[in-house]
């Protein structure tokens, strides 16, 4: 394998759920050695999330969790145990980067906040990412990324003018926020190379989410206008929408971005008489009569499959694409060409496909080679080989339940 960018970089991952673990996963996929710290008393909530192997829940059966923790080692450690301090001290001494995504104040209580870690390892780069940030009057509000979607304006601006607000299903800010943390960490590593100093990176996922709604924010701060729901309309593109196709719940996206494409579009649909109508002649005309236009386009699309429409339009140079499902995505010829899905073997789940990282660097490719670990899967290797504990010490920690082996239950933890 080619050399990877973060080969030799050591990361301790105290984060949980989605946003924090994604940060460390991306470093791991660039070659960093990442140790994820968890406990059977309070396992990561993602372990409770479907899909589970054969639809049977179990602490090591969630494909959601494994996908979020590729390439990482995992140790079980009860951070609240009085004897855990020696383990965390060795972890922090060893690490270049560490991070957490706990409710503000949690890490300080455990003696693992930035100030405490810096005393052990002055060069450490430490990230904290939380829903609303570590300071401010709302820092203690509970919630997940779905809240941030609502707080950050996404939900209010998604949907139809006459519908209630809606949203893409995912906890969208949970994907956006980690990218900025990765940027900040690499920036901090560049600086550390020059100065030898570490630092603290703090993030409110709310702020990170907001950045993707930026044009609307400026429209408010400058023009004092609140964005509204407008379905799939675009002020500069028409037709622009999601149209029904032949088949159950099948849809196609079409975006006619200029007059040349409008001519091509009309040709593809067979130049029906209505396309000659003056009320659709220019972008401005089409915007004026868009309800009628969308109706007419939809009548044509209904007669064809999504795949037929996408190909006919693309051959004519008109942007169009299927509204793909998971199954479509797995079979998408372009994604296949890019080897976007890769198979990995997991001790409990077996072999199945994972999304590969979307980072494509010519000399130092990103890679996934190990499924997200079972809880405590790497205890022996990490405690003995990396942290230097003897077999007797490890046995003692097991007896004292510093190293956990089982928990009370696997109820969803939030």
């Amino acid at each position: 394998m080619a050399k990877q960018i973060f080969e030799g970089l050591k990361v301790v991952d105290f984060s949980w759920a989605a946003a924090g673990p994604q940060v460390c996963r991306e470093l791991a996929e660039h070659g960093a050695t990442v140790i994820r710290v968890e406990s059977h008393n309070k396992p990561c909530p993602l372990r409770t999330f479907a899909p589970h192997k054969d639809s049977i829940p179990g602490i090591d059966r969630s494909a959601f969790y494994t996908a979020y923790n590729t390439n990482k080692y995992n140790i079980s450690l009860d951070l609240t145990h009085p004897e855990a301090g020696e383990v965390t001290r060795r972890l922090i001494e060893w690490a270049d980067v560490t991070g957490e995504s706990m409710t503000p104040g949690t890490m300080a209580k455990l003696g693992l906040d930035y100030e405490s870690c810096r005393k052990i390892n002055p060069g450490i780069i430490y990230f904290s990412t939380t829903q609303q940030g570590n300071y401010g009057p709302h820092r203690d509000f509970q919630g997940v990324g779905h809240h941030v979607n609502a707080l950050g304006g996404f939900c209010r601006c998604t949907g139809w003018p006459n519908s209630e607000p809606t949203m893409i299903f995912t906890a969208y800010s949970d994907y956006i926020a980690p990218w900025y943390i990765v940027i900040a960490i690499i920036g901090a590593l560049l600086r550390r190379r020059k100065t030898g100093e570490g630092m603290h990176i703090e993030q409110a996922q709310l702020e990170a989410g907001l950045t993707f709604a930026a044009p609307h924010i400026l429209d408010y701060t400058v023009n004092k206008r609140n964005a509204v729901r407008r379905g799939n309309r675009d002020s500069q593109i028409s037709p622009h929408g999601i149209y029904p196709c032949n088949g159950p719940d099948r849809w196609v996206a079409i975006a006619v971005t200029n007059e040349e494409q409008w001519a091509s579009f009309c040709h593809v649909i067979g130049n029906p008489e209505w396309t000659e109508d003056a009320k659709f002649a220019t972008l401005n005309d089409r915007k004026q009569n868009e309800d009628e236009l969308d109706q007419l386009v939809g009548e044509w699309t209904k007669e064809h499959t999504d795949d037929q429409i996408m190909k006919m339009m693309q051959e004519a140079g008109v942007p169009a694409g299927i509204v793909q499902t998971s199954e479509d995505l797995l079979n998408d010829p372009q994604m296949k060409h890019r080897e976007h899905s890769r198979k990995l073997e997991h001790p409990e789940i077996g072999v199945h496909s994972y999304h590969a990282p979307a980072y494509r660097l010519s000399e130092t490719p990103c890679d996934i080679y190990r499924a997200g670990p079972c809880l405590g899967q790497d205890n022996e290797y990490v405690y003995r080989e990396i942290l230097g504990f003897t077999n007797d010490e490890i046995a003692d920690m097991l007896v004292q339940k510093v190293i956990t082996t089982e928990g009370e239950s696997l109820a969803a933890s939030w």
């Binding site: 959601f64 709302h138 209630e164 995912t170 429209d219 793909q324 199945h352 494509r360």
Partner: protein
């Protein structure tokens, strides 16, 4: 305007050939202190024509869309379609660390400006190419757009209401996701170059990166042994509205994320313990999803009695996450974004003052901030061509007349 401390990318130079689809990439580098030179054709980046505009007046210096994506950059004009333009570009490449562009595949190589060619001029150059579908493969020459790429990424199918067309999220999420991916790759490649001394080529597909806005289960769920032949995942049938329901209240909407029985009990308490919501079957999350249509009017009767803020705060107190569905002004004016200084005032010579989102992370030591507004078209031509590259004023006049600048 911002923090003047040195950023972690201070000292690196980035050439930015992107239009609106890739401009957000180099902005990330500029926010960290890199010297980003935005290179536009003499006609200007088409992104200058994207609304919203200051006072709704279309003007190349008043596109708020453009202004946000290009803060912290310097700007010059250069016509790469001319031989002289390309010669000047070579001079710029020699002194640059990074080049980012989002031209269609084959466009740059057609101009003799492929990575292989540019590497001969500057072996350390890191070149990032953002395209809709990637540089190879069956869709290589296909046309994309934010909506089309988002649809193909598998993300869009989850958005909206059952049986109705899926509905896209605001902004340009597909292109922003691709741009930020490219930023990460560039900074990582700069880190690598520090040890190897070598540059590399980065290739980013909008189609692929916009998928990253979706849970990572989509492929596993259809892969052969997690859930073979099972029904489609609920989100794909747009059941999100039942799982994370939105309810109208006195002054807007709230969104409730009650998954566990404990959270449901807390929600019932927030709503004043109405008897009808205390039926034991409602405590079961799956039962609630299956009977969402019946549950909705029962809950709305109580949410309508209170404001967003009252419900938000009561939810926080009782232990059920309830989020107000904020309009832009709501979060702009919220005590949290005020306390965090989430927005930074930027003063542009033509568009005037506006508040822009700050970089969404805080460094304890170094700076990541907005130092200067987006450049006007060709604003730094003299500064860069005359003062830095040594062209005389007469030469600049001639180059401008020849359509090179």
């Amino acid at each position: 305007m911002g923090d003047e401390r040195v950023g972690s990318l201070t000292g690196y130079r980035v050439l930015d050939l992107t239009d609106s689809k890739g401009a957000y990439c180099a902005k990330q580098l500029a926010d960290l202190g890199a010297d980003v030179i935005k290179i536009e054709s003499p006609n200007g980046d088409p992104g200058r024509g994207i609304p919203p505009f200051l006072n709704d007046t279309p003007h190349p210096e008043k596109s708020l869309y453009f202004l946000h994506r290009n803060t912290n950059k310097r700007g010059i004009t250069l016509n790469l379609g001319t031989e002289q333009g390309r010669t000047i570009f070579h001079t710029l490449i020699k002194k640059a660390d990074v080049l980012v562009h989002n031209s269609p595949p084959d466009y740059m190589s057609g101009l003799g400006l492929s990575y292989e060619e540019l590497k001969k001029i500057n072996s350390e150059i890191i070149m990032a190419s953002i395209s809709e579908f990637g540089y190879k493969g069956p869709y290589k020459n296909w046309k994309g757009s934010n909506l089309v790429d988002f649809a193909l990424s598998g993300t869009l199918i989850t958005s909206g209401f059952p049986g109705k067309p899926p509905c896209v999220a605001p902004g340009s999420p597909a292109h922003d996701a691709a741009s930020v991916h490219a930023s990460i790759s560039i900074i990582a490649a700069l880190f690598m170059r520090g040890t190897t001394g070598e540059g590399q080529h980065i290739e980013t597909s909008v189609h692929e990166t916009s998928r990253m806005g979706l849970y990572p289960w989509v492929v596993p769920v259809y892969s052969y042994n997690t859930n073979p032949d099972g029904p489609p995942p609920m989100p794909e049938t747009r059941m999100g509205a039942s799982i994370y329901p939105v309810y109208p209240c006195k002054d807007g909407f709230i969104r409730v994320i009650a998954l566990t029985p404990r959270q449901w009990d807390a929600l019932v308490k927030v709503l004043g313990n109405p008897e009808i919501l205390q039926l034991p079957e409602w405590r079961d999350f799956i039962y609630r999803i299956g009977n969402a249509a019946d549950l909705y009017p029962l809950v709305v009767e109580y949410t309508r009695e209170s404001t967003m803020t009252e419900l938000f705060e009561a939810g926080s107190r009782e232990g059920v996450p309830i989020a107000p569905v904020y309009k832009i002004d709501d979060f702009y004016n919220s005590p949290q974004t005020k306390a965090r200084q989430s927005f930074v005032e930027v003063d542009h010579p033509i568009a005037g003052k506006g508040e822009y989102p700050a970089p969404p992370y805080r460094y304890s030591e170094t700076s990541a901030s907005i130092r200067c507004p987006a450049p006007c078209l060709g604003e730094h031509n003299e500064e860069i061509y005359s003062q830095e590259l040594g062209y005389s004023k007469d030469e600049l006049v001639a180059l401008r007349a020849a359509g090179v600048l």
